[in-house]
């Protein structure tokens, strides 16, 4: 029995991706007529967006277009004044952030939100918090089931660490890691939650070319091999156009175009928003 808990070599397929597929990881998001205002600023203006299961949808748009605000609304940080958000048919407009994480909406942030004073592993353990199944009483006595849960999830996290190629830094403090690595840790945290819907806010911003290549590789594998539903907010158009199934373009809080990468690339309003009014 004890042998089960020996540190194992990586089998190549993280069990969190292989074990729970199909209905359990179903992700259908619908945003309807979402309007968010900050005083005089309309950050989001009647946004409609739907995300289907297994899709990689990108949201692009100039700075201040409201991309981050949309993610913040979906993950419950901002409360929109009007409109509805539903996830797998359930209305989630008024759920709290932690509840949304619990039902399977994971994300990364534009300005990395991690715990710099903790190790990579501790960060990921925190991110996996909702999956640890024991209560305070059991924890306070460190009963056998607590120990087993801790070991079990540790194994899951180790597989994830292997998947993201972070073996060498698992015990390092996040605060001391280079920016690009921290972005990867943040992805690791988001994945540790085992989200049905993964939202990434500018994961490619400010990282080196090599790190970008790695990140693209991870995202593509996640999306294609493991059917992970992803919303990607990104400025880097060449990446967006090559990996997305669908692209939505925002400008001044309005969705000005949506469709396949090809369609969007040639959309006149998009060209106008990006290049300015050249007429």
């Amino acid at each position: 029995m004890a042998n089960d808990h020996k540190m194992k070599a990586f089998r190549g397929e993280p069990s969190i991706f292989t074990s729970t597929r199909s209905e359990e990881s179903q992700a259908e998001l619908k945003v309807k007529d979402l309007t968010l205002k900050f005083g005089g600023i309309t950050a989001l203006n009647k946004i409609d967006l739907s995300v289907h299961d297994g899709e990689l949808i990108s949201i692009i748009g100039p700075n201040g277009a409201g991309k981050t605000s949309l993610l913040n609304c979906i993950s419950g940080y901002y409360k929109a004044q009007e409109g509805r958000i539903s996830f797998n048919g359930k209305d989630i407009t008024h759920l709290s952030t932690n509840h949304l994480a619990k039902i399977g909406i994971g994300r990364t942030y534009q300005n990395i939100e991690l715990f710099p004073g903790m190790t990579v592993l501790s960060n990921m353990m925190l991110a996996r918090h909702v999956h640890y199944k024991y209560n305070v009483g059991q924890a306070s006595l460190f009963l056998k089931n607590v120990r087993n849960e801790e070991v079990r999830h540790r194994e899951v996290l180790e597989e994830l660490i292997d998947f993201l190629e972070m073996q060498s830094i698992r015990k390092q403090l996040v605060g001391g890691l280079p920016y690009g690595t921290r972005k990867r840790v943040e992805l690791g945290c988001a994945l540790a939650l085992q989200p049905k819907l993964l939202m990434l806010d500018e994961p490619f911003a400010g990282i080196t070319l090599e790190e970008k290549e790695d990140m693209v590789r991870f995202l593509v594998e996640l999306n294609e091999a493991w059917n992970q539903t992803i919303i990607l907010v990104e400025h880097n158009l060449s990446i967006v156009m090559s990996i997305s199934d669908r692209v939505a373009v925002f400008d001044f809080g309005v969705k000005i175009a949506e469709g396949s990468p090809d369609f969007v690339q040639n959309h006149p309003q998009v060209i106008k928003a990006y290049l300015g009014d050249t007429s």
């Binding site: 900050f38 981050t68 939100e113």
Partner: protein
Amino acid sequence: MEFFLQILANGISLGFLYALSALGFAMIFKSSNVLNFAHGGLMAMGAFIFLALSVWAGLPIILAFALTLAGSFTLGFLLEKFFLRPLIKKTLIYAIMLTLGLALMFRGLLTFIFGGDIYSYPKFLPETLSLKWGGIQISAVYVAAFIIGAVSLILFGLFYKYSSQGIYMRSVADNKPAALSLGVHVKRSFALSWAIAALVCAISGVLFGIINGVSVHTLNSIGLKMLPVVILGGLGSIRGAILGGITIGLLETFTGGYISSSLQEIMPYIVLVFILMVKPYGLFGLVETKRA
């Protein structure tokens, strides 16, 4: 009716003193988000410095008062420089706990030197200052407090609004990183807000000393009362601090007058808990959405 009016007058006068004192509290909170638990200690320091200078050293009142102000200003400045500044980059709770440490130090030091007794200042306020209005009476010290308080409020208001240093301080209070990037000397701004706060504490400490007698214990508990005052007004709003001060003053005198005098001291805190339940960001405060 006369009783009611007298209590009303007492409440407003007391409230005005609270407001003045809360100004010092709010100033530190506004600039650095620190809850200053050494507020009462600073008030006591001011009151005892004045006592030592005026009674023991026998200096003329005006000179003693001026020296007290200068001393408190320096004290506040030094406190920030040596104790608070090393913590600027750390989490807030360290700074808050540090002020608890300072509170203990002031209390210990003053009780060691002066004991737990209540001292009183010589009578120096002219009796002509007191107001009589039918049966209602407002004693000289309250009138003096009102004058000093009003003058200080106007001075601070002008300072904040028009002097360049005041504008810097407001900018720091509003957005520290932005102010830093514009080249505002944030450290100086913090130091100055502590210095001014200590000065305000000294003024209000002396005034409370005139009313209640100078005692470490009383001044400390008045210092704590700044928390209900600023919560009522909404943390970090100077106008709120003034309104909160007057509200708490009225609340206390009315409780003392109509319900029970032992409940008077505790009433602000009961109201505080109640406020937290129904209107946590104060009667005049704002809630803002934090960026994620």
